[in-house]
Symmetry: C2
Subunit: 809 residues, 2 copies
Amino acid sequence: MTDQPTDRPLDPATLTAIDAYWRAANYLSIGQIYLLDNPLLREPLQRKHVKPRLLGHWGTTPGLNFIYAHLNRVIKRDDLNVLYVAGPGHGGPGIVANTYLEGTYTEVYPNVSQDAAGLKRLFKQFSFPGGIGSHCTPEAPGSIHEGGELGYSLSHAYGAAFDNPDLIVACVVGDGEAETGPLATAWHSNKFLNPVRDGAVLPILHLNGYKIANPCFLARIPEDELRKLFEGYGYAPIFVEGHEPAKVHQAMAAALDHCLAEIKRVQTDARTNGFQGRPAWPMIVLKTPKGWTCPHEIDGKQVEGSWRSHQVPLSDMNSEAHVRVLETWLKSYRPEELFDATGKLQPELAALAPTGEKRMGANPHANGGLLLRDLELPDFRAYAVETRAPGAASAEATRVQGKFLRDAMKLNRDAKNFRLFSPDELASNRWQDVLDVTDRCYTADLEPNDGTHLSPDGRTMEVLSEHQCQGWLEGYLLTGRHGFFSCYEAFVHIVDSMLNQHAKWLKVCREVPWRRPIASLNYLLSSHVWRQDHNGFSHQDPGFLDHVVNKKAEIVRVYLPPDANCLLSVTDHCLRSRNYVNVVVAGKQPAPVWLTMAEAVPHCVAGVGIWGWAGSDTGAEPDVVLACCGDVPTLEVLAASSFLREHLPALKVRVVNVVDLMKLQPASEHPHGLPDKDFDALFTTDKPIIFAFHGYPWLIHRLTYRRTNHKNLHVRGYKEEGTTTTPFDMCVLNQIDRFNLVADVIDRVPGLAVKAAGVRQLVRDKLIEHRQYIHEHGEDLPEISGWAWGQKGVARIGSAAADTASDNG
Amino acid sequence: MTDQPTDRPLDPATLTAIDAYWRAANYLSIGQIYLLDNPLLREPLQRKHVKPRLLGHWGTTPGLNFIYAHLNRVIKRDDLNVLYVAGPGHGGPGIVANTYLEGTYTEVYPNVSQDAAGLKRLFKQFSFPGGIGSHCTPEAPGSIHEGGELGYSLSHAYGAAFDNPDLIVACVVGDGEAETGPLATAWHSNKFLNPVRDGAVLPILHLNGYKIANPCFLARIPEDELRKLFEGYGYAPIFVEGHEPAKVHQAMAAALDHCLAEIKRVQTDARTNGFQGRPAWPMIVLKTPKGWTCPHEIDGKQVEGSWRSHQVPLSDMNSEAHVRVLETWLKSYRPEELFDATGKLQPELAALAPTGEKRMGANPHANGGLLLRDLELPDFRAYAVETRAPGAASAEATRVQGKFLRDAMKLNRDAKNFRLFSPDELASNRWQDVLDVTDRCYTADLEPNDGTHLSPDGRTMEVLSEHQCQGWLEGYLLTGRHGFFSCYEAFVHIVDSMLNQHAKWLKVCREVPWRRPIASLNYLLSSHVWRQDHNGFSHQDPGFLDHVVNKKAEIVRVYLPPDANCLLSVTDHCLRSRNYVNVVVAGKQPAPVWLTMAEAVPHCVAGVGIWGWAGSDTGAEPDVVLACCGDVPTLEVLAASSFLREHLPALKVRVVNVVDLMKLQPASEHPHGLPDKDFDALFTTDKPIIFAFHGYPWLIHRLTYRRTNHKNLHVRGYKEEGTTTTPFDMCVLNQIDRFNLVADVIDRVPGLAVKAAGVRQLVRDKLIEHRQYIHEHGEDLPEISGWAWGQKGVARIGSAAADTASDNG
């Protein structure tokens, strides 16, 4: 088969019908942008029929409509299961128009009926107060992709196709979007798609040549170069080009026929003979004019085929001449042929659309909650690290989590609805036990030394692109599956903006009654700020937490489990939750285990609690509260408490550990927020609080500024000081270490500065000793280093622990 | 010329010498990772000579060293001006080794002398407490690219090449980095490089096949596909492959000779005949084993040519066997041939390096402050919008700014050191007047409708990739030039992580004495959260400010000018500043001009001040403070104040406007922070403060929680509510509108709730009226809409304004 089909597959009647369907969608799109009334133009168009504020984007819309109409033909003919992803999401009116034409829109919004009154509502609501947004928002049936922030359509499409062998995801990529980085690497997703078990993605690069104001470079390189680019990306591109509808209809139909045949051939081959190598998947390059079918010129300036058609091509409606131009434009689609007397689409046109769930607006994959099955999870308690006393055992928390995930992976292997995503950090973040039960997914070539854990059947997705990991995972979740994203903490900022868009999507979904809940987006942030021993300053940034808590409180959850057992409990909870963004921060280095599983579970459920065994307040009102959130801060606070117990035994220290960060917010601000009286009971109303926090210290202030005792709150955290140095020195550089915490206590407990001047001097000396030692030896003093202290600390706090461990809550 | 040179350009002596130089660099790299002492192995290696903690990355280093040695040859031969960008920045020891060998390292750090004692210091300091980081950090001479967060090397390289016609930027792209999105689109930078006026970028894709744990897909696709990919990107790739040094030296030398000849041919042609079309620039694909020259196997597992060589290939040094392996490995480079008795590089090897500023470690472009010239700036006051009274005039603030930038562009045209960067939003953000004096830069093909403002000579850089804009601009600034990045506010989050890295770079540079200050990185964030009329919820996010203020206070500055005149003043300041990240938020829509230029300048210098004309406290202690920060909040606060004046004339309202956000922080936290007594004088110590803020409200709390009157501070801002609705309705949805602000005042001023119950009801009614009106008409009530209110407001506040305008400060 040649790569450029030349046949003309549409008979004249079908061509005419498809063109009419396309005209109907275009008409309805323009109607949404412009019309307040007179939806069928049954009276002469007047200014008053036109919206006062004209909002929306026409330029991309006729192309989206064109593709939709052609997909309908093949879906209906071959009974295909197709999901439509509109990269240029600001072509929203086109998607709404098509779902209206096929009937799904009216099914979910009955008041937008299939008659003149419904048309009027359809038109008015678009970009109108109280109506719908201008993009492919969650309100739009069939959409999993809002398409406002450009760059993620193709990753979403691949994510949707994974583990959906019967699904074809038609993904329209705008030539503007194609300039973005995330999209530029997303083409390489084909190295991770397995034709045996996954569905197909059919990318349709829509070259209409222009962005808001500029040409797009992919539309301005020679066709030969463009072809090589996509062949280099591993595709077999088919070019469809033109501006005369009849000709482009034929070419598009032929191209689609060819691509679907190719997809079928590839899949049949792979499913019959097994995976034999990465195929060259088909794709389409569709080159049509921007704003196709709008007036070619307005006021002497070219509009169709120009950037001037990007938004509203004709926007000054106080000009009577423009009203006439608009009327002529609208009438050029011949609405009188398309809709019957009641305003309903003519039955012979309506018959062109597929029916039931085969309609792209009704595809259940686009409302993934419909298809969602609970994960089978093993009992996380079975993975507990036994510890005879707080700190007596040591574990790499994320490695323990990895064992739990390994068995979760095993239990859901048949359900094929669980994958892990990571930018080449799965093993680095210590999840490698997962590889005992599944490989890394890879469909590119392999060389002998590549190791044994790579195969087309793998369920861990590793690619050095946080954008791809996030985009694939979003697509996977939005179509009703489960996943976990493991990332270096500092580099998760790479997907800040993607998190924004997903959180916004989830927020709006809660307000759309027919959208069913989907599995939460779960992040493990490991290789965190405090342990960048190999990498230093550029790898230190705990600010994703600050970013996440700006999103709607109903959506975001943040957990900083202090040890491996708490991490297990939190992980189980996250995998069972729905419609959230769960951010879990945990270390991968050997670290003390403080709580038994029996203690960890209630502590994690409470989200915050007093660790009686670690303090010296024994139920009484303390002199000072030492609070901690995060694994390294917890270690330092416990060491500080132990030090104080030894050197200032009369001081009553309370230790509070925070797992669930949002507990700190007022209950009025976040569903997890502690009521004020509970907060006051933990943190007192008037005693100094020294709070050691994993992240930037001011985040704690931002969460607690309304609390009674906020004025006495002193927070230590990361303050952008760091380099490649020892683990303990990282703490010292940011003054979150045990000695600086002890100094903070002495400085802040009234009267202690004088009484404890000797201890104050002692911690100064300890810090000097530390610095001298590391500059000479390059590693921490043995009695200070990491988890080793935990075991020593146990000796110190052991007896207290035995008495009070049962107080945990 | 064929694309695969087959000649053998190195005579045997040169080959031997280059190989020796490479061995020396490799030896020094391994020494840095491993050795604490015995740097020349003049005694048998013992455990005590080896560092206790082994940190660093060997895998990429021999490749970086190999390329460096070969570049030295051609620089010296042809007297070239070459800047070296190491994409895999964790190959830091290689860059340090090479700059040490060529002498630049010792010049900037004389204690790291060129003898055995210096060698010992060189080795010990690497990834050692008190020493240097493991990446190409600012401490490394010749570096403009830390290379910790992967993805930006090629954008940086192009940014450095712009307007440096004699410069060749050799950019090593790792095959891990090549999987990232930003890098995947950065190859397209060649559509924006003009061979007449710009330098050349020579990309060297280093396929060593592995990341931390996985193969890289570009190393696992057929060579034919890879070649097509790069030809599709517009390059002419040369492949160099092998593992036998002698053969690869010849092939690399031939490839470099070919590429440099091609660069010269392209540039000569373009500079002789003018730009005739985008050339196919040469590039090199270098395929060598990961960890090349390290032990092939350790403990029975393959290390060289495997992911196992990514970090420290041999890390358990408590094994005597491993100490012997390390010794054998180090001795395989034959250090005794490379260094003389004192430990200095043999003179015949030292002679291989270029001299003076031609050494890549001494290239002044890598310390851009050395080359920085001040911008010539017109007097910004000349662009002032005249206003006879506050709010009487209206202006699109960023359009006014654009006129100033237009003339700045003109004044610096000959200096060729100023560019503007934008993701297709220059005109959308209203800077289009700049196009009167310069075009958009574009070297791809053009079509007739593309407009007249595109040319290879343009100085505005528009590409639909925030990553590219940021990366190019960083490269441009780091090499001593000036720029401004105009971005939609919501989508600047796309470069959150890039901002992190640049801010970290600037922070460290302040601590490196030989690094000279560079021009600030300036952002204009426009098309902001409050005016996404066309686009709705996905385009609404003011959280970049939260992100930025987490960076070091010495680096970040945030300005929210309330009107066009203030924006001019702020812009002038930003363009004159050094070593900062300046974030400026300003609207593009018609909006009232509140201050004359004579008033705007001192207000912006102060950064915060009382607007006496807008309040009703006439110098007395007020009953309430209405504070505002941002253009839309300022309008709403002024409208609220006006409303209160009309309906509650006895209430003493003080209006405070904040331009410089960091004024709110304590002076101890930020250099711009107001002293507490000044803050208290503005905001009182006990009166309610209603603060209308452009961004997320809690940011204001995070900045002010230490202030005396924080307990009375009530902040309104964006709280993630929005859709495509009217401008005023956006304010209402987030309760930052004038009526909700009035309600806040009534609810919070003691005793007012009862006294002003009627006014409270009135604002409720106004809000109902508003909602009814917009649902019917789709636009705001005429008396409420945007700047129109400003003009009406003037009538209300006019007389007060005339009396008190001179009080501004």
